[in-house]
């Protein structure tokens, strides 16, 4: 099974169009997010426990999963993860959250943090 294909190594016109489309998609992607109101509580789920913390009080809370302990830092009404033990640290890259529906997830360490609040969406149908 051998298709005759042409795959030049110099950029072509269509590549430029694709580049523009992808840049626009990336730049506009935050707008597709459900923009909840500022929430007061965060739900923290680890393999062992589900706890709820308030965003009103600053603090540094240990959250432990199978890989080790990270810290959920609450300051100025926002929460973010620090010192994550996972290899990719995507959870740290998810930044700090304060609006309902926003999440921080660490798949390898099985940690799930979510801001709960009045505007929360249960499901999104597409």
């Amino acid at each position: 099974m051998r298709f005759e294909i042409s795959l030049p190594s110099r950029p072509r016109f269509a590549d430029g169009i694709l580049l523009v489309i992808l840049i626009v998609l990336t730049a506009l992607s935050p707008r597709f997010l459900p923009a909840g109101l500022v929430g007061e509580l965060v739900l923290v789920r680890t393999p062992d426990a589900v706890t709820e913390l308030t965003l009103d009080k600053d603090g540094r809370y240990p959250v432990t999963g199978p890989l080790g302990t990270a810290f959920l830092v609450v300051e100025k009404g926002r929460a973010h993860l620090e010192n994550a033990p996972c290899p990719l640290k995507i959870c740290e890259a998810m930044g700090s959250i304060n609006r309902s529906g926003q999440v921080i997830v660490c798949l390898p360490n099985r940690i799930f943090v979510k801001v709960s609040g009045p505007e929360e969406v249960d499901a999104v149908s597409r």
């Binding site: 950029p11 840049i23 935050p30 890259a93």
Partner: protein
Amino acid sequence: MRSPARITTLALLVAGAFALASLERVVPNPFPMVRLGLGNIMTLVAFSILGVSGGAWVTAGRVGLVALLWGGVFSPAAVLSAAGGAASLIVMVPLILSGRFSLYGVSMGGAYAHILGQLTVAMLLYVRSPGLLALLPVMGTAAILTGLFNAWIAGKLTGVLSTQHAGRRTHHAANE
């Protein structure tokens, strides 16, 4: 069709993709959340010199080997890597067959599809929250940049390989 030369080339490219993907996991990365996706370089080379099925085999081989060697066949990491690989093939193959794109468009489209596929499967299987889309600005920008970089490297590599193996390739083509 299944000439020894083709199978050997394919095996080498799969091994190369596996080595690059492993290297990426071992070498410390100052931005761990962003993957270069170096394994895709070998997929692009396979598309160039072996055609559509070659690239598909290299992607499948890499995903399988990485899952076997780097922890659990059904671990979240392996499932997400398979999702990314499948999504990137679903996008790259039509881009190639359209005949309008170079390595750059195919590589960029594949890298972007890879993260979209991963995010979609993560949302469906593990997280169940659209909040995961918050990762798209960081991961999307990274996918565009690494896609362009990988296309550049793959272009260099394809150039070297096709001049070195020009004689063998004509012989190979005559057999088909």
